[in-house]
């Protein structure tokens, strides 16, 4: 089960992109807290603390805002174009006895038997959309694939989930396959040297077609 991350936040009065840029330059992250039909509160958080917790996969935060403690769930994290720096973070207020919808990583453990026969494991789903109590949110869902043979397919319904966790996705979705990779045919790949132009008809037939009209 994921641990609650303790972070000190400050409410912020200055809004807008320029004020947020100044905050980011000072090593802080702008964020916002909403939910439970209460007022929306813009906040400022220390970047290093938040980034550490987010990198470790923390979902639940205990924010200390100007001396008041509030339990919140991460709703959205915005990154820069390289995916390095956190630009903004959204939190939703939450009660510990509440059921929430959340995305958790899915890790496939072990080496499938089929790899010895020339198969390659392809993981098609690496995150699961689940519903569970706030206190039961798993850090990660692990599933052993050591028994998968060549041409085996793993579906969502075959996953062993922790107690109290319900998957919200279609249970027939394919999670992983072990299949041989088809050799790319280098010979015969010679196609046309130039792409066809849409609307252009070759060898003067365009003129004929135009005359008929």
């Amino acid at each position: 089960m994921s641990q609650t991350a303790q972070v000190t936040a400050k409410s912020r009065s200055e809004l807008g992109s320029r004020a947020n840029k100044r905050l980011r330059d000072a090593g802080m992250i702008p964020g916002v807290i909403y939910g439970h039909k209460e007022a929306v509160v813009p906040v400022t958080l220390p970047r290093r603390d938040v980034a550490n917790h987010i990198d470790r996969g923390s979902h639940l935060f205990d924010l200390n805002i100007d001396g008041k403690s509030e339990k919140v769930l991460v709703k959205e994290v915005q990154y820069d174009h390289l995916g390095i720096e956190i630009l903004h973070i959204d939190f939703a207020r939450v009660n510990l006895d509440e059921k929430v919808e959340i995305t958790v990583p899915l890790e496939l453990k072990g080496t499938p038997k089929g790899e010895a026969d020339g198969g390659v494991l392809t993981q098609l789903i690496s995150e699961l959309h689940i519903e569970c109590l706030v206190t039961d949110i798993p850090d990660i869902i692990r599933h052993s694939i050591a028994e998968m043979k060549l041409n085996d397919i793993l579906h969502i319904k075959e996953l062993k989930l922790p107690t109290g966790v319900k998957v919200l996705q279609d249970e027939d979705l394919v999670v992983a396959t072990v299949k041989e990779i088809e050799e790319e045919t280098e010979a015969g790949a010679e196609g046309e040297a130039e792409p066809a132009v849409i609307g252009e008809v070759k060898d003067g037939t365009a003129a004929v077609a135009a005359e008929k009209k």
């Binding site: 709703k75 174009h81 020339g118 392809t122 995150e127 066809a196």
Partner: protein, 140 residues
């Protein structure tokens, strides 16, 4: 055979400018590891093909390589020793327009050390600085 579109609306295109950073295609989506562009550039179909060959020779049949960019843009050129004027030259090659942050290639089905080696070889074939990235899991 380098990649190119099968059908196009116009054979020749204007040069354009590469402005800003990638806001789409900047996260690892199919494999577990990726190669991310750090600079803006045109990446030619030949360079993409060279990268693909380098990576697939290294991986053999172990893992899976995903190419995340496609050369949609034609670049025209005039033949040698031809005077200026008389219209735009003929399409010479095709290229992908890449903004900083774009994921160029992805690798799946291999461990991190193998993926790193594979994408390092691939990065040598690219005309720009690139970095190795992991898939990032959502916490929301």
């Amino acid at each position: 055979m380098p990649m190119m579109p099968k059908r196009v609306k116009f054979r020749k295109s204007q040069r354009g400018k590469i402005k800003g950073n990638a806001t789409r295609g900047n996260t690892v989506a199919f494999g577990e590891f990726g190669l991310q562009a750090l600079k803006p550039s045109w990446i030619t179909a030949r360079q993409i093909e060279a990268g693909r060959v380098a990576a697939s020779h290294f991986l053999r049949r172990e893992g899976r390589l995903y190419i995340r960019i496609f050369p949609h843009k034609s670049v025209s050129a005039k033949p040698l020793e031809v005077r200026m004027g008389s219209g735009k030259g003929e399409p010479e090659f095709w290229c992908a327009v890449v903004k900083p942050g774009t994921i160029l290639f992805e690798v799946g089905g291999v461990d991190e050390a193998t993926a790193k080696k594979c994408l390092a070889r691939l990065a040598f074939k690219m005309p720009i600085a690139c970095r190795f990235v992991h898939r990032r899991h959502s916490v929301a």
